[in-house]
Structures are given as C-alpha cells and as structure tokens.
C-alpha cells in the first residue's frame, strides 16, 4: 500500500473551506463509508464571548506533519483516501477552521482514522490560534508536541 496516495488532499488555506467538495473528493466507488470531522469557531471560550479568531502556522512544517498523519493512517487503517484542510488567518464565529474526511470500504477504519487524525493534528501540527474578545485577546492554551528527550538517544 502506498504511503500517501495521489488523491489525498492536505492543505492550508486562507479562504472558506469547501467542505462539500472535500466530501466528494475522498469518495471512491470501492468505498462504503466516509467519516468527516468539521471543527469550527465556537462563540465563547472559558465563558468569554469570542469575537473572532486568528490562526497562524509554520506552514511548511505544518504541511509536513499533516502528511505524516496521512501516511500513518494509510499504514494503520484500511482506508482509501483522506483530506485534511486547515484554514489560516481571520475566522468568524461558526466558520470551519479544520475539516477532515476519510473514506474507507468499511466504517470502523474511517471512524478510527478520522479520530486519530484530528487528535494528532491538535498535538503535533504547528498551528496557533489567537482568540479575540471584546476586551482583549489571548493565545489559546495549546498542547506541547512530544519531542525527543535528547539528541544523543534519538540518533
């Protein structure tokens, strides 16, 4: 099985994510199931009303980490195709910040691969979110990606 198949779509975009077209993109004739995750901007955060968000990324590394996720789920689960698209820049309430769609012959693999993809994206892909409120702005609490403890042991 190839590590990443041609049809996978891994992108960072600055305009609205076209979720319906991604659902069509991953759909294959041999498939029976697509599981999709749509993450979008909530209207509040820790009880404060959100006005809007700004996302930034270390773009080439973020794409590299998204590709690692795609490679891993192709190896680990019996899936056909995956789309992972993250939006950057200014986002309003309700707008999709990340969309993941996974197609597979059977639903179990699609569910597990989609869940793995979003959980891992949130831990390892270098993207940052700043939340703007009526009375200020904060960088969202995030997760520290796992790193090798020492270059000596890692090499």
């Amino acid at each position: 099985m190839p590590a990443i198949i041609e049809e996978d779509k891994l992108e960072l975009v600055r305009e609205a994510i076209e979720t319906a077209s991604l659902m069509r993109h991953v759909r294959g004739e041999q498939d029976g199931a697509i599981v999709a995750f749509d993450g979008f901007v909530r209207n509040q955060s820790h009880g404060r009303m959100t006005r809007y968000l700004e996302y930034e990324a270390y773009e080439p590394m973020a794409l590299g980490k998204m590709k690692e996720i795609a490679t891993y789920i192709h190896e680990r689960y019996r899936i056909h195709c995956v789309a992972i698209v993250h939006r950057l820049g200014h986002l309003e309430i309700g707008e999709t910040s990340v969309f993941i769609a996974v197609s597979a012959p059977h639903r179990g693999a699609a569910f597990e691969a989609c869940r793995y993809a979003i959980d891992t994206l949130k831990k390892t892909v270098p993207i940052w979110k700043k939340e703007y409120f009526a009375d200020g702005a904060v960088w969202a609490d995030g997760e520290l990606p796992p790193t090798p403890p020492s270059a000596k042991s890692a090499s």
Partner: protein, 79 residues
C-alpha cells in the same frame, strides 16, 4: 541559518524570522539562550515551548549545522 518565532514568542520578541550566522557546534538550547539574553521575558517560556530543526521537532541538546532552519514553537492550538 534561519531562526523563526511563532505565536506568542513572535509577539514577544517582535520578530518572526532572523537570518544570520551562528557558531556551529552550538546546541538549540544555547541558541535559545542567546535570544533570551536579548529578550529576558522569553526565558519564562522555556518550559512551555518546543524547538524544531529543519521542520522536525528536536531535542534541546541537538547541535546546529550550517543552513539549518530553527524554529521556536509555543504549545500548538490548531484544530
């Protein structure tokens, strides 16, 4: 050698990217300390950040080499 800062680290030092020469054999921790001397507030974030070398997460004791792209990364919050 390119050094990049993101998120709150970028805001703190007011610079997203610096290009320049750094002595080889320096570790990533030592590179960070050079910046922390110029921007003392940076030191507070030392335990809540990670570092990458050539777009891979790296250990702080990794030694740099010519042409490296180094980035200092706060906790990620995509999704």
């Amino acid at each position: 050698m390119k050094v990049l800062f993101f998120g709150r680290l970028r805001e703190l030092i007011g610079v997203a990217e610096e290009t320049g020469e750094l002595p080889e054999e320096m570790t990533l921790a030592q590179v960070f300390e050079r910046y922390a001397k110029r921007h003392p507030k940076l030191a507070e974030f030392r335990n809540s950040m990670v570092v990458s070398r050539n777009q891979e997460f790296a250990a702080w004791d990794t030694r740099i080499a010519e042409g490296d792209e180094i980035a200092f990364l706060p906790p990620v919050s995509g999704g």
